[in-house]
């Protein structure tokens, strides 16, 4: 399904950007109001009256090959961005800046570990290993958020790590979830030791189109349910004809891995499509907004906020970090409503619903992540 040539991306998304330069597709207020409006529309059972195809004739499509192709194409782009920002720095001796920080919203994959493995950089899987690696010129800490808890006793290992880092002379690249970073920013040690950091730029419709073109190749045609046009069709000026990808970029807040998950969630095929033509005739629409369960609203919001700060964890670990004794069934209810995924007692944020989670938390007044 994919072509083999490397992906040529626009200049502005080939490397990481400093924190503070992220171009949000919509302001915080617009996100919240847009989410509220989408929820109201879903609540009133509104249907797209301008749909080019009767949505009743579509059936959900789960395509492992397409999923794998899209995720591989995206990973290649993200790894290239990491390399263009960090590779030369990581291999250029000990002069200049010796600590770098990659900040990113929740992702389905551990991109920094993957990058470190490809370039043979040692990975610090436990903070206390720092002593063993003190003679290495460079190492990577992929996910700082897994090493602490928002609890007075669970911060000590992190501060010990910062103390040890102060005497380490090599280079360290630290990855940190943007929500954990928001929480840790109130501690001076974090700011002083790791600085401001960088993040992936916001992907617009053109950037997403390049990834989708690479993943889908020339055989498959994906049409927008709303307009009936192919989402990757371009006019004479090389501009995308259909607005689907622009809307997808906006709905995913510019995070390409969220866009890919939303796309995979929204693809369908005509119910009477036979297998031979299935690959060449896909339809796609933006998935409907998720809503929090009607009861115990605060419990769900605190649970989601705690999950975002700490990343995927066991239910018991997360429950210990909630403000009140956890409400029974809060994670199950969140899973039912599409906000989290539960696997073997481990909770992960449903990446496809990340914009809805962020909007719900923003509407409730929680401190949001900053990019």
């Amino acid at each position: 399904m994919t072509s083999s040539h490397p992906i040529e991306l626009p200049e502005h998304i080939r490397s990481l950007i400093p924190i503070g330069d992220y171009q949000w597709p919509r302001s915080e207020a617009e996100q919240t109001i847009g989410h509220l409006f989408a929820k109201l529309k879903t609540g009133f059972g509104a249907t797209r009256n301008t749909a080019a195809i009767d949505t009743g004739e579509l059936k959900k499509r789960s395509d492992d090959a397409l999923q794998s192709a899209l995720k591989d194409a995206l990973q290649e782009v993200l790894l290239d961005a990491l390399s263009s920002t960090y590779l030369e720095w990581a291999t250029s001796g000990t002069t200049g800046q010796t600590r770098r920080l990659l900040i990113h919203p929740p992702m389905g994959t551990d991109i920094l570990s993957e990058w470190a493995k490809r370039h043979d950089f040692p990975i610090l899987s436990e903070l206390k290993q720092l002593g063993e690696k003190s003679d290495l010129p460079c190492f990577v800490v992929p996910s700082l958020e897994v090493f602490f808890g928002r609890h007075i006793e669970q911060l000590t290992p992190l501060f010990d790590f910062f103390d040890a880092l102060a005497t380490y002379e090599g280079r360290v690249l630290v990855g940190c979830n943007s929500w954990a970073r928001r929480f840790l920013a109130q501690f001076d040690a974090m700011q002083l030791m790791l600085g401001e950091g960088e993040t992936f730029p916001a992907f617009d419709a053109d950037a997403l189109a390049i990834i989708f073109e690479k993943a889908l190749g020339n055989n498959a045609v994906v049409k927008s349910v709303a307009t009936g046009d192919a989402i990757l069709k371009r006019d004479g000026d090389d501009t995308l004809v259909d607005p689907f990808l622009a809307k997808l970029a906006e709905a995913s807040l510019g995070h390409p891995w969220v866009a890919v998950e939303m796309f995979l969630r929204g693809i369908a095929e005509a119910a009477d499509t036979d297998k031979e033509t299935a690959e060449s005739q896909l339809w796609v629409q933006l998935p409907a907004a998720c809503s929090l369960p009607a009861t115990a609203n605060d419990a769900h919001l605190f649970a989601l906020h705690t999950l975002l700060i700490h990343g995927p964890r066991k239910v018991e670990e997360l429950n210990q970090l909630l403000p009140d004794p956890p409400v029974n069934g809060v994670w199950v209810a969140l899973q039912r409503n599409g906000f989290v995924d539960l696997n073997d007692g481990r909770v992960t944020c449903a990446i496809r619903s990340y914009p809805d989670i962020r909007s719900e938390l923003g509407a409730a007044g929680f401190n949001l992540d900053q990019l």
């Binding site: 919240t32 928002r150 007075i152 109130q186 605190f302 509407a363 007044g365 401190n367």
Partner: protein, 274 residues
């Protein structure tokens, strides 16, 4: 006599059925508009972040005043023949009537109008007038209503702002300071207590991360009083936030081997008053 009757007659326009209907319709429409904004905007504001919520709530009394001004400007020329002479006459008559009959009501209404611009309180603010503390839930023409932490609604006339101080905990902003107090016994090493309590504040799920966490220590004759001051991200969480800081602060102090003081009741009330 005839001249006076003529003057009074000149004061009013001809009022027929259509004029009465127009006046009635105007009143109904303005009333409906005011009621709609009073119901709809607070409902919408519940879905918005704290900043936008306060902005939306604050527009309710302003819209009401604008609607009432519109009503007056619309109706008065329908009833009265407005000339300078008539204006002075009507204003004088109204002043006398207001001065004698509805002095207190007029004082409250004027104070409400002043409060609209001076903003000692806005919808959504947490205020204290006299002994009453609560969230401002309604600002009417005559009075302001607070919902207290005990879920009682207290109605206080606006004219209290002439004579009493109004304590506003958040002053239109989306957060307010909360204080948890700890009494630590003398004669022990208290070197890390401030840092410990600061971390307690910083690890609270209710904390507003945009604001600093402050710890103040004060020596008294019986003990050292530590006050942990921090802001919740949502003012309505203030009591849960104080409870959370207090419970986790007590646990952290106990774990660190810090002994709490046994303090006389009168000192506790004195400290809380500070």
């Amino acid at each position: 006599m005839e001249e006076r009757a003529q003057r009074v007659s000149n004061l009013f326009n001809d009022i027929n059925g259509w004029v009465i209907a127009e006046i009635a319709l105007s009143i109904v429409l303005v009333w409906a508009f005011i009621k709609a904004t009073q119901k709809l905007l607070p409902w919408v504001s519940e879905f918005l972040p704290a900043k936008l919520r306060h902005l939306t709530l604050n527009s309710v009394p302003i819209l009401r005043i604008l609607a009432l001004l519109f009503l007056v400007v619309w109706i008065v020329p329908l009833i009265f023949n407005i000339t300078l002479q008539n204006f002075v006459f009507i204003a004088g008559a109204l002043s006398v009537a207001v001065g004698f009959a509805v002095k207190d009501l007029a004082s409250s209404v004027i104070a409400g109008f002043v409060a609209l611009f001076e903003k000692p309180y806005r919808l959504g603010d947490w205020i204290k007038i006299g002994k009453d503390y609560g969230e401002v839930v309604t600002i009417g023409m005559r009075a302001v209503q607070l919902r207290t932490p005990d879920d009682n609604v207290v109605t206080i006339s606006h004219d209290r702002i002439w004579t009493e101080n109004v304590l506003n905990a958040n002053d239109g902003f989306g957060t307010l300071m909360c204080v948890a107090t700890f009494h630590i016994a003398h004669n022990q090493d208290t070197g890390d207590v401030a840092a410990l309590l600061r971390t307690v504040g910083k690890t609270s799920p209710y904390l507003n991360l945009d604001r600093d966490v402050i710890v103040v220590a004060q020596n008294t004759a019986f003990c050292t009083v530590y006050t942990l001051k921090a802001y919740p991200f949502e003012p309505r969480n203030q009591f849960a936030f104080i409870t959370d800081m207090t419970e986790r602060g007590n646990a952290a102090l106990r774990l660190a081997g810090i002994r709490a003081a046994s303090v006389p009741d009168d000192l506790i009330s004195e400290t809380n008053a500070v």
